[in-house]
């Protein structure tokens, strides 16, 4: 048996034991930075290899490729600047960069998009009367490939741009590419932030470790209690969309909105918390996105690491917003369509991206008040939002929910029928759910209250309860742990693993 088929999920006992062992060995080696880095690399490979040794080789290949190409690019750049040789050397660097990007995107494209493009290519040709007999392949998508590919690409691009010196320590670089807390579902880190941390001694900070545990606990609660319970309703409603009325379908989209938020931001919290336990800082991937007052703000708060990646490596190189209106619109559409495509090889994801681009376009072209001064988060210096803010939050949330219909649907036909049924007279009928909402609603109210109270922090639970008496704080922790255990049923994977 060469390949273990089961993935080490963050909410499994396997991962709990794995993390405890890594944590204890890691800090017992506190005096030896290099050995700590080797341990992280080994732990990361064990973590990934637990699922597939075959695809671990793919990570190793990608790591080695970018490690050496970046060094080569840097050497060419250095010679260029000292010898002033001119354009030919620059071109050589560019060629190497293109080679790296082509190989990385080629691997990603093969595993993720091969079937999609082949099927569409054959379909287009058949419309033109040319019939090809090319069958699709049974390809397994390596978990996390979109995340680590973007991470290594950003590194090589940064080296080419001269923003970063290439890593000279292969262990540190391989650790950066495969760092297990964020390997399979982000946040997509930049070398400037994460790789640098591999070079510096990390001291155990009790306060930081406690914050890490709190963040892991909140992430687990969001995933296991909120997301997985919402999934039961969302799956049922999306599975029976042809039989249910408009209000139930709208509710299904809302359930999915909270499922994907709890699932993905829960994963991010566990990832950041785990990294904190090991003395690393990862970037914040979510910042209370559902409290956004417009879609543009939503996209500044949702999957921040991916949005900022597209901003820095696609949007700005295309001219960003400092170009003509038409080009700016073009750039927005490119970004969102690429973002949709990044999520998966399906027209539903592309339309999801397109719909969000349309939202942004309408908002920026028609509704945005250039003079409006935005506070960083809604009700920044107040406890409650104004009526106007609440109205904007609800409208934004509903627009996002409608876009999630494309994201969640299996195909365009389902998405269109689903939306058509929402916007029918049955929207005004009472929703019909297959089981009682009562228990979920209690947790939901608790969850929303905590999220609202902690909206200014990097994660909702960051400061809540810190000024309480310890006994009450520990009761809160115990309640959360208890609920996580009670609801952590086996087999519920994270949605973003498929991307």
């Amino acid at each position: 048996m060469f390949f273990a088929k089961k993935f080490m999920l963050f909410h499994s006992l396997d991962f709990a034991f794995f993390l405890i062992i890594v944590f204890l060995i890691y800090w017992s080696l506190n005096k030896y930075l290099r050995i700590q880095n080797i341990l992280i690399l080994l732990a990361s490979y064990v973590f990934y290899g637990w699922w597939s040794l075959k695809f671990l080789l793919l990570i190793l290949f990608s790591t080695t490729l970018d490690y050496f190409i970046s060094i080569a690019i840097y050497k060419i750049r250095s010679q260029n600047s000292t010898q002033r040789v001119g354009l030919s050397k620059d071109k050589a660097g560019l060629h190497l960069l293109i080679l790296s990007i082509v190989i990385n995107l080629g691997i990603l494209g093969f595993f993720k998009y091969y079937n999609f493009f082949i099927e569409n290519f054959v379909a287009i040709l058949s419309i033109l009367g040319i019939h090809l007999n090319i069958s699709s392949l049974n390809i397994i998508l390596p978990i996390g490939i979109s995340f680590y590919t973007f991470q290594t690409m950003s590194y090589t691009i940064d080296v080419y741009r001269g923003k970063l010196e290439p890593a000279r320590d292969f262990v540190a670089f391989a650790g950066f590419v495969s760092f297990f807390p964020q390997l399979v579902a982000g946040p997509i880190e930049r070398a400037n932030d994460l790789l640098n941390q591999f070079y510096h001694k990390r001291n155990f900070d009790e306060q930081n470790a406690i914050i890490g545990l709190r963040q892991i606990l909140w992430g687990l609660f969001k995933k296991v209690v909120i997301a997985d319970n919402c999934a039961e309703f969302a799956n049922h409603i999306f599975g029976h969309y042809n039989e249910l009325n408009g209000s139930t379908l709208l509710l299904g989209a809302v359930f999915f909105a909270f499922q994907i938020y709890g699932d993905f931001s829960g994963y991010a919290d566990i990832a950041v918390g785990t990294a904190r336990l090991l003395g690393f800082r990862l970037m914040q991937n979510f910042a209370s996105p559902y409290f956004s007052r417009d879609v543009a703000e939503f996209w500044r708060r949702w999957h921040i690491s991916l949005s900022s990646w597209f901003r820095d490596y696609v949007y700005i190189p295309l001219g960003g917003s400092r170009v003509s209106v038409n080009k700016r619109i073009r750039n927005i559409f490119i970004i969102f369509i690429l973002s949709g495509l990044w999520h998966g090889a399906n027209w539903t994801f592309i339309f999801w991206g397109l719909l969000n681009a349309i939202y942004i376009y309408i908002y920026s072209a028609l509704l945005q008040n250039g003079h409006e001064k935005k506070m960083p988060i809604v009700a920044h210096d107040r406890n409650l939002p104004t009526f106007q803010e609440l109205f904007k939050i609800v409208i934004t949330f509903l627009l996002i929910c409608l876009s999630w219909v494309f994201f969640r649907s299996d195909n365009m036909h389902q998405a269109i029928i689903y939306l058509r049924r929402i916007f029918s007279s049955s929207l005004f009928q009472a929703p019909t759910l297959h089981k009682s909402l009562a228990p979920l609603s209690y947790f939901f109210i608790f969850f929303l209250c905590i999220e609202w109270l902690g909206r200014k922090n990097s994660f909702a639970l960051e400061e809540i309860g810190l000024d309480w008496k310890p006994v009450f704080r520990y009761i809160l922790y115990a309640t959360l742990v208890f609920l996580v255990i009670v609801f952590s049923e086996k087999g519920q994977e994270f949605i973003y693993f498929q991307f």
């Binding site: 545990l213 115990a478 009670v486």
Partner: protein, 327 residues
């Protein structure tokens, strides 16, 4: 680092302690409806000093034999899913403070084949005492048999050695959370279990399972080709049970509960022949026992589910049992 580890370990220990306590004392909240039945029988064993006669058997005897109907001062000590293993320890413990004159033994052929609920009920509900379980392990180890694929030494260790308790905790948590969900999503498990407990104590240990007026689905036996692979352990314990009763001058009746008509008609010829062979050997060994072990059936309208008699069927079967034990 030390301070952090102490905090985390301290919190975890208190948390696990509270959960473990709840696991032990909160079974009425999170266990299924079988628990109040087993609990009531376990308590009866400890409290009873009036030497009632006993019905010892499985769920078919539990549903089908109405103590009030058969007279003769009987109490229904049958347990859902039980085999002669539990039956033997039931009688052994009962004899510590009581002297019954008669016992009825009634096990479905299915429960002479395998220990389907040994882990889920006997162990989890704590029906056997440590002494019982220790004795059981000795017997099992002598014949080198496994129970549901697990070695008995490890079963004993898992559930009774403190250090290895934590290894079993995951199993307990799983049962805990799946049952606790029921508390949230369906009617309260505690209140339901309490009702079952009251009902079973007021009915001298009897409890109906299926309450349909008619049932013609096939029972487990109707799906079996052979009876040959009867469990060695169960065979040993059935004999131990009979011998224990005979040694204590107790009149022993072995009475089979009926099948529904649909199942009886579907029975495989080989299965019936194997079963009859097995029973004949027992009859030869223990001629003192009053044997009524032939496979027989009642019409489908006597059954509340595929295996258990309904109210109507129990009345008829209990009259039949009454005639036997009153002779």
């Amino acid at each position: 680092m030390k301070k952090f580890l102490i905090k985390v370990l301290g919190f975890s220990s208190v948390f696990i302690l509270i959960i473990s306590l709840f696991i032990h004392i909160g079974k009425m909240y999170y266990c299924n409806v079988e628990y109040p039945m087993w609990k009531s029988k376990k308590e009866f064993l400890v409290q009873a000093h009036d030497s009632k006669n006993l019905v010892i058997g499985d769920s078919r005897a539990l549903a089908g034999i109405l103590p009030n109907k058969i007279g003769n001062n009987f109490y229904n000590m049958a347990l859902g899913g039980a085999t002669p293993v539990e039956g033997y320890y039931t009688l052994r413990r009962y004899l510590e403070a009581n002297r019954p004159q008669k016992i009825i033994i009634s096990y479905a052929p299915f429960h002479l084949r395998s220990e389907e609920t040994f882990y889920d009920r006997t162990l989890k509900f704590g029906y056997l005492t440590n002494a019982d379980l220790w004795d059981f392990c000795q017997v099992v180890n002598q014949v080198k048999q496994t129970i549901n694929g697990a070695k008995l030494e490890s079963v004993y260790a898992r559930y009774h050695y403190f250090l290895q308790y934590f290894l079993a905790l995951n199993d307990v948590f799983y049962a805990f959370r799946t049952n606790l969900k029921k508390l949230f999503y369906e009617e309260s498990g505690y209140l339901h279990n309490k009702d079952i407990y009251r009902e079973i104590t007021s009915q001298e240990g009897q409890h109906y399972f299926g309450t349909n007026p008619y049932f013609d689905d096939l029972n487990d036996e109707a799906k079996l080709k052979h009876f040959k692979d009867a469990s060695i352990i169960i065979n040993i314990y059935l004999r131990k049970l009979i011998e224990l009763a005979l040694d204590n001058n107790i009149r022993v009746y072995y009475i089979n509960a009926p099948f529904n008509e649909a199942s009886a008609r579907a029975l495989m010829v080989d299965f019936v022949a194997d079963y009859n062979d097995y029973m004949q050997k027992l009859k030869n060994l223990y001629p003192q026992v009053d044997w009524h072990s032939d496979l027989h059936y009642y019409s489908n309208n006597c059954f509340g589910d595929r295996s258990h008699l309904n109210h109507y069927g129990s009345q008829i079967f209990s009259e039949y049992v009454s005639r036997i034990v009153s002779k």
